[in-house]
């Protein structure tokens, strides 16, 4: 118990050190509510996905995100404005590692599927944006060659490993991996193009 406690306390010290801003400025009080809310709107969703990928649990990720923003309220005023996103991700990472240690989430749990369920309740606007993104991805999937799309579907939707996919399709493992990688690059480009289009002003 003492060994675990020592390890945890040292980890807490490490965590507090991680929270310490890399470029300290003069403390001038806590961040305003508008600044915190703005940072949440800007980075909250990306942080939530990052945490869910680390923790494989939507609820744990939500708790961890809350802790991260609590740290922001406490010590965010000590950070530089331009470095706040990286600071938030760093704090979120250490919060997630702390959660994993406290909840004894091992490697087996990390094998869990992290993406099939999106338990977070979205606002109407977020849902509309998300629906649009899903439609964009669906369109991009239709543009893929059938054999590529088959691998994507078998890996992501059916949850089969690449080894199983290669065996079922009677193709080399490297071919299955290559099709997946190519498909992911195309999908990401399609999404990035969509974001670029959305960022352009209407003429």
């Amino acid at each position: 118990v003492s060994a675990t406690g020592d390890a945890e306390s040292s980890y807490d010290e490490e965590f507090l050190a991680a929270c310490a801003p890399q470029a300290l400025g003069p403390p001038s009080g806590q961040l305003g509510a508008e600044v915190v809310a703005g940072l949440y709107v800007e980075h909250g969703e990306e942080l939530r996905r990052f945490l869910q990928a680390l923790l494989r649990d939507a609820q744990l990720a939500a708790d961890c995100l809350q802790s991260t923003f609590a740290r922001l309220v406490e010590r965010g005023h000590e950070t530089r404005e331009g470095a706040r996103k990286a600071w938030l991700f760093r704090v979120a990472y250490h919060e997630a590692m702390l959660f994993r240690r406290r909840q004894a989430i091992g490697d087996k749990v990390l094998r869990n599927v992290a993406w099939t369920r999106d338990d977070v309740t979205h606002s109407a606007e977020e849902s509309a944006v998300r629906l649009e993104a899903v439609e964009q991805v669906r369109h991009a999937l239709e543009q893929l060659p059938p054999d590529h799309r088959q691998v994507v579907r078998m890996r992501i939707y059916d949850g089969k490993t690449f080894a199983v996919i290669a065996q079922e399709l009677n193709i080399p493992l490297g071919t299955a991996l290559g099709r997946m990688r190519t498909a992911l690059i195309k999908l990401r480009k399609a999404l990035a193009a969509d974001e670029t289009d959305a960022g352009l002003p209407d003429e």
Binding site: R49, A53, H94, W115, R138, I156, T161, V164, L173, L191
Partner: protein
């Protein structure tokens, strides 16, 4: 070898294609991390990188987003019933609307039936009560219409009372006037009269002791 039991994580040491750029390599690594395709040591290495590398963190978040979007898109594509369901919804709404209308109509009809049948039911019960008592409604009506004889008020009032002499001319403002509809029945008057006579025949109560004559004080 059983394919289903083969769950050993896979992460090629070298990129599959030399044309793949380093940023794509990072995204691929993030994808393999999220899907659990990395070896334990490779996953630990990637987590160490996450502590210091912001691009790796963003790649991880992006990988999860891509996985979620692809899953949602594939689930839409694989379920043609989902395209039909919006058309089913108005039908089910219409069905529930018809059902509620039917229930409301049934309730209104039941209320109307009760409103019509209940008074008739009570009427028939009253008739039954009359008949079971050997009477008929006609008899009750006739009884209520019978005119009772006018009582002689002179019997009730003392002879020297100022209103003992009934004057028809003073009917309107005579507070002692008794309406014939509210007059006591004849048997009651006879009973009262008999009672009055019996009282008078009773022996008079003993006279109270006469007080002593006042003593005149001599001056």
């Amino acid at each position: 070898m059983n394919a289903d039991s083969f769950t050993e994580p896979l992460m090629p040491a070298q990129p599959i294609s030399p044309k793949i750029a380093p940023p794509d390599e990072l995204h691929w690594q993030a994808f393999c991390y999220v899907t659990g395709e990395l070896e334990v040591c490779q996953a630990a290495e990637f987590e160490d990188r996450l502590e210091v590398d912001q691009s790796a963190r963003e790649a991880l978040a992006s990988a999860l987003e891509t996985l979620q979007l692809v899953t949602a898109a594939e689930s839409i594509a694989s379920s043609p019933s989902s395209a039909v369901s919006p058309r089913r919804e108005p039908a089910s709404q219409g069905k529930s609307w018809y059902r509620s209308l039917a229930w409301m109509s049934l309730g209104a009809a039941a209320a109307l039936l009760i409103a019509v049948a209940l008074p008739r039911f009570w009427q028939s019960r009253d008739d039954e009560d009359w008949r079971s008592a050997g009477l008929t409604p006609e008899l009750a009506v006739a009884w209520s219409q019978t005119e009772l004889p006018q009582p002689d008020l002179g019997l009730l009032l003392p002879a020297d009372a100022p209103h003992a002499q009934h004057d028809d001319a003073d009917d309107s403002d005579d507070m002692w006037h008794v309406d014939s509809r509210h007059a006591a029945p004849a048997w009651m008057m006879a009973a009262v009269r008999g009672l009055a006579e019996g009282k008078s025949s009773e022996p008079a109560p003993a006279a109270p002791a006469t007080p002593a004559a006042p003593i005149e004080m001599e001056n």
